[in-house]
Amino acid sequence: MFRFRRGQEEMVGFVLVVLLVAVIFLVFLGISFRSNSSVEDSAEASQFLDSILEFTSNCTFDDYSYEQVSDLLGDCGSGKMCLSGENSCDVLKGTVSELVGHGWNFEEGSVYKGYEFEVELNGELIEQLPVFGLNFPCVGEKRGADRSLLTGQGNIVVTFELCG
């Protein structure tokens, strides 16, 4: 009778040890693989951002030279109007939308589900932007790039993020 009780005690003890180890292991896994909210650097996004900043838009102020996207960032911050009567921010939004739409695939089954394009002027988000894509706010993994430009209007930080 006494022998049976001891065997059962040992079994219970063993099961408790196994359960304890399993719980500790799961907690460790949970901490290791918890996704954080930081944005991972993407080489492709970085190249894309560098390339689109050079793009020549259809906004001009003197009918001679046309503004590049990098120039439009500052123009938008100053609220400038293009010669065509369009707001430089609207031209910027439209141009960026076209560039992203042609450069990336956000259809069902693709790696990325949407994007965000933000511009900060002297630390403040320009209200007319950001340009959103599909499925934002992003609940998946974010990958992107940012650039800092010093212009006559101040320090501009432009961020391009892809939502996975």
Binding site: F14, V21, T56
Partner: protein, 169 residues
């Protein structure tokens, strides 16, 4: 009686050894399953890192190409992401450059504004692609975004457009 006592002692020892063996086997199976689980998750992280390294490798390759004298755009502003589209169409007509870069495939694509078809002197710049190297066989291409710079006669200065460079080593 003594014999009986001795056989009881042996049975108890054997029981203890058997218990220990079962415990050890159970522990080994448990940690084996846990390790399998861990490495399955760990190896998926390795796949992501491999993809990231491939991306960076493509970026470095493109940077080298874009910075080479054959493609570098030095006429306008300082632009590291720029490729001279006008130079590319001239290079296309030169057969000496087929083996110059040591690549199996090299193509420059105009992404936006988009055009149609392969570029020739007659349809440039309203075209889509300039294929500089195209060798047969299975090719796995890497791509990278670039800014395509070209002289715009109508504007009277350089126009920058969005492009992509496709490379296969």
């Amino acid at each position: 009686m003594t014999t009986l006592f001795r056989s009881v002692s042996y049975s108890k020892g054997q029981m203890k050894i058997q218990q220990m063996a079962f415990v050890l086997v159970g522990l080994m199976i448990f940690f084996g399953v846990a390790a399998l689980f861990y490495f399955t998750i760990f190896s998926s992280g390795i796949n992501e890192q491999a993809a990231l390294l491939r991306e960076r490798e493509a970026q470095e390759l493109v940077k080298r190409l874009a910075g080479s004298p054959e493609f570098i755009f030095s006429s306008g502003s300082d632009c590291s992401a720029c490729v001279d589209f006008d130079k590319a169409i001239v290079l296309k007509e030169s057969s000496e450059y087929q083996n110059f870069w040591g690549l199996n495939y090299l193509m420059i694509e105009k992404v936006y504004p988009s055009g149609e078809g392969e570029c020739t002197r007659s349809n440039y710049p309203d075209c889509k692609t300039i294929t500089l190297v195209s060798k047969t066989g299975e090719l796995s291409t890497r791509t990278a975004f670039v800014a395509l710079a070209r002289w715009d006669e109508g504007l009277g200065y350089f126009r920058y457009e969005l492009g992509r460079i496709h490379v296969s080593v």
